[in-house]
């Protein structure tokens, strides 16, 4: 018997020799991926390119004359702007203003678009077992991955080109327009490469998305630190440590430096090559990071509805909490660094303070709101997980046990909302401590911490949107919940950019909350938000109890 001899890999052992026709089936697969994703691809293009046109229009109205733009240029460069949206430059031109207002949002959005789309067609398909079916056809080892990368990369190229052409069409300088489009496309392509590697290392789509998103988050933070440390309009050396920083350093509508685009495309192509190398060495369905063995029995706690919910959410719970605390520490530290600059009575304060007594308080209010967005992000994720549990069919056996649907869903939703409050409180506390430490004023700890809790009703409203949708429009729950969250966040920070009226802005969940500690605390908006949340939860849960369970 063969088994008696020590078995060794030989040339005849499958997997020892390089495959031939590795790209067979590529055109068909490309068409297939486009067909499965055309709506998502179209939406990303329309939204990202549309935002450029909208923001440009509002800025042209806001700064109609060269004098008004020059006045803006004198005050544009504040640490708050630098930290949130990147180091401002060229604020005396409409192109420069457009860059300040929208560039960072576009860059981060296209980064997420690349990550989510690549994972959706890549690791998620593999996890579902559909890649196995495809690869059992006359399909080369790398054909499907290459098709996926090409389609997602194509999105970046199309968005970049259309942004460039839109800007030219709006009358902006051609080179700056194209540099802006190219820098956005470059960020998309770089994160495509990062997502491709993440999808090879991990064996679940959730882990792949998380890993790549963490890289995106760190890239954003690194360049935020760099931009705050920058002197004048000259970038700090640290910004070269972040792919987003490379794209910023293309300085569209400024110097229009083209060579950093090579770095971005290099990361994209390099990531895809690394992914291909890993892919040709591993089995379909497997990752590189090992699956560890777990306990053979469930503990007593795990067998309760709450225990299981906590276990399923454990990773995101810890991840978002750490994210919120890091963010809080960052903003707390940065706020003090601004104090000196602000003491001179920078008129830009009027814009950012939003009616606050002092500009510093206005900035604290803004940063607290951004911290609240992190907490709300977790809450939305946890609330949409209820629908995912239902769609995957895992809910049915659970409610087939002695647990009512309403109770089961309430436990999951409340866990999401309560942990969101924990993240809110923890990031507020860290924010307060960091700020109090640098400002040498211990009283600030309590003041900031208390202010952060003003966003509790907002969390419940955003969770309520998911609760309501899960009841009434289950299939739309995940997508629409995130759209509501994203739109609320963008409107709260950039609302005036889109020429929205103050009333309309104040009607969105984040903006409705008084931006304490900058403005005087008002109870009424919080009462209204709480009532809205209560209605959403009650209607959603009632419908969830009454309707049929539906799969994906």
């Amino acid at each position: 018997m063969t088994a008696l001899a020590p078995a060794r890999p030989s040339a005849a052992t499958p997997g020892r020799t390089a495959p031939v026709a590795t790209f067979a089936g590529f055109p068909d697969l490309t068409a297939f991926i486009v067909r499965r994703n055309w709506l998502r691809l179209t939406l990303w293009v329309v939204i990202l390119v549309g935002m450029v046109a909208m923001v440009f229009e509002s800025q042209r109205v806001a700064f109609p004359t060269q004098e008004s733009r020059d006045a803006y240029a004198a005050i544009a460069n504040t640490p708050a702007v630098a930290a949130l949206t990147g180091l401002p430059y060229g604020a005396g031109t409409l192109g420069g203003i457009l860059n300040i207002k929208i560039w960072m949002t576009l860059a981060v959005s296209i980064g997420f678009a690349s990550i989510f789309l690549l994972t959706r067609n890549g690791r998620a398909e593999e996890e579902a077992g559909r890649t196995e079916l495809i690869r059992a056809g006359a399909v080369g080892h790398h054909a499907y991955s290459l098709a996926n990368q090409l389609v997602v990369g194509g999105l970046s190229v199309v968005v970049g080109l259309l942004i460039g052409l839109t800007c030219i069409g709006l009358g902006l300088p051609a080179e700056g327009s194209l540099a802006m489009g190219a820098s956005i496309a470059g960020v998309g392509i770089a994160f495509l490469g990062i997502a491709a590697v993440a999808g090879q290392l991990t064996s679940t789509s959730r882990a792949a998305n998380s890993l790549a998103s963490i890289v995106l988050g760190v890239s954003y933070l690194v360049r935020a630190i760099a931009d705050v440390r920058a002197e004048g309009e000259t970038p700090d050396a640290l910004s070269w440590a972040s792919p987003i920083g490379w794209a910023q350093n293309m300085r569209s509508f400024g110097e229009n430096t083209w060579w950093p685009l090579l770095l971005l495309v290099g990361v994209g192509v390099g990531g895809c090559l690394v992914a291909a190398a890993v892919e040709s060495r591993r089995d379909v369905g497997a990752g590189v990071l090992p699956d560890r063995a777990g306990p053979p029995r469930a503990s007593r706690r795990l067998t309760t509805t709450l225990g299981l919910a906590v276990r399923l959410q454990r990773g995101p719970m810890i991840g978002w909490l750490l994210g919120g605390m890091v963010g809080g520490a960052f903003y707390g530290g940065v706020a003090n660094a601004m104090a000196d600059l602000l003491a001179s009575g920078n008129p830009m304060g009027e814009v950012f303070a939003g009616g606050a007594d002092t500009m510093l308080d206005g900035l604290l209010g803004l940063f607290l709101m951004v911290s609240a967005m992190v907490a709300a992000g977790y809450t939305v994720q946890a609330a949409t997980a209820v629908r995912l549990e239902e769609a995957s069919g895992r809910l049915e056996p659970q409610v087939a046990g002695a647990v009512s649907r309403t109770r089961w869903a309430s436990v999951h939703y409340l866990l999401g909302a309560v942990w969101g409050v924990v993240i809110l409180a923890a990031s507020g506390l860290v924010f307060g401590v960091a700020f109090a430490f640098t400002a040498s004023d211990p009283a600030q700890v309590w003041r900031i911490f208390a202010a952060s809790l003003a966003y509790v009703p907002t969390l419940f409203v955003l969770a309520g949107v998911a609760v309501f949708l899960t009841g009434w429009l289950p299939r739309a729950t995940v997508l629409v919940s995130w759209i509501v969250f994203g739109a609320s966040a963008v409107i709260a920070i950039f609302g005036p950019l889109f020429s929205l009226s103050e009333e309309a802005i104040a009607a969105t969940p984040f903006a409705a909350t008084p931006r304490v500690p900058g403005v005087e605390f008002e109870a009424l908006p919080l009462v209204v938000l709480s009532l809205v949340a209560l209605a959403l939860w009650a209607l959603g849960l009632a419908r969830f109890r009454a309707r049929d369970l539906t799969l994906a």
Binding site: T2, A3, P14, R16, F32, R135
Partner: protein, 311 residues
């Protein structure tokens, strides 16, 4: 490819997942035109073997040839000549069943349209429904139609009837028989012994990643015993003294045992004299063969032996 090239030729195949050895020197040979049953308990390595044959997993040692080619290196060329049905079919929720059949077929390299439509009809499938609305059995049928309507020389079927109702299992059996008559080769991995007995002329039984038995069903059957349960109004009495009975157990009037085919006649004569009130004899089944001869340690089998020893 010459007629003597086997459809599948696997020798000493080894596959490890970390510390776990999934395949430990597995051998498998399917000649052209053969319908090979591939049997083994859960986790014995059937699917792992198939995944290596499909070129979607690498082996750590040993060799595997599919239609004379290297399943990893020449995956694309080979896949034009084979069709595969997994045991757990997952489809794109937003596409219809008909679309899924055509996509899978096109990626293989073509389909016989009339055959496809005939099979959709025979399997009682609505190809216009979205895959998300299909039950497990209906998803399974989609993959079956895509594979069975192909012109593949070799069909690799990994527990293909899981989730099908008995009527549809019948349709599956008939269709595979037709294909076998056309001279196609089939590797049928299954838990369902009846299905393997109906379809397969050869059987390979594996356990813990090794081949424990391989041969024609007829060859394996002669090793086999018939199971008999009888109700003897007078109790077991002197019947227990017979030496040609195996696995004997008695509970009051109820007596059960197994007997070699050669001894069956004499045992029945003895039984007839004892005026049994009822007699059930189970024909030699692959399942018994599988469970008894090849030492699959089922707790129940161990308990039976203990009961006999105690009595």
């Amino acid at each position: 490819m010459s007629a003597s090239t086997p459809a599948i030729e696997v020798a000493g195949l080894v596959k490890r997942f970390g510390a776990v050895t999934a395949l430990d020197g597995l051998d498998l040979r399917v000649e052209q035109g053969q319908v090979m049953g591939f049997l083994g308990p859960n986790g014995s390595g059937k699917s792992t073997t198939i995944r290596i044959l499909l070129g979607i997993a690498r082996a750590d040692a040993g060799s595997a040839r599919l239609l004379g080619g290297d399943p990893w290196r020449e995956a694309v060329e080979l896949h034009r000549r084979i069709a595969y049905v997994p045991g757990d079919v997952n489809l794109w929720p937003n596409l219809t069943g008909g679309q899924a059949i055509d996509i899978l077929s096109r990626l293989r390299g073509g389909i016989d349209r009339t055959r496809r439509d005939a099979l959709v009809e025979r399997f009682d499938l609505d190809p216009t429904k979205k895959a998300r609305t299909y039950s497990k059995g209906n998803r399974q049928k989609i993959a079956l139609v895509a594979a069975l309507a192909s012109d593949a020389e070799l069909l690799i079927l990994d527990e293909p009837t899981s989730g099908l109702d008995p009527l549809m299992e019948g349709v599956f059996t008939d269709t595979v028989r037709e294909l076998a008559r056309e001279g196609r080769s089939v590797l049928l991995s299954s838990h369902i012994f009846a299905e393997v007995e109906k379809l397969c002329d050869q059987v390979t039984i594996i356990r813990a990643g090794r081949t424990v038995e391989s041969g024609s069903l007829a060859d394996l059957r002669h090793l086999h015993r018939t199971s008999v349960s009888v109700v003897l109004p007078g109790g077991i009495g002197s019947f227990a003294e017979r030496t040609d009975l195996h696995d004997l157990s008695a509970d009051g009037e109820h007596v059960s045992f197994t007997v070699e085919d050669a001894d069956l006649g004499a045992v029945l004569v003895d039984l007839a004299a004892r005026a049994p009130r009822s007699l059930v004899s189970t024909p030699p089944s692959l399942e018994d063969l599988f469970l008894r001869h090849y030492g699959i340690d089922l707790p129940a089998a161990g308990a039976d032996a203990a009961a006999v020893n105690a009595s």
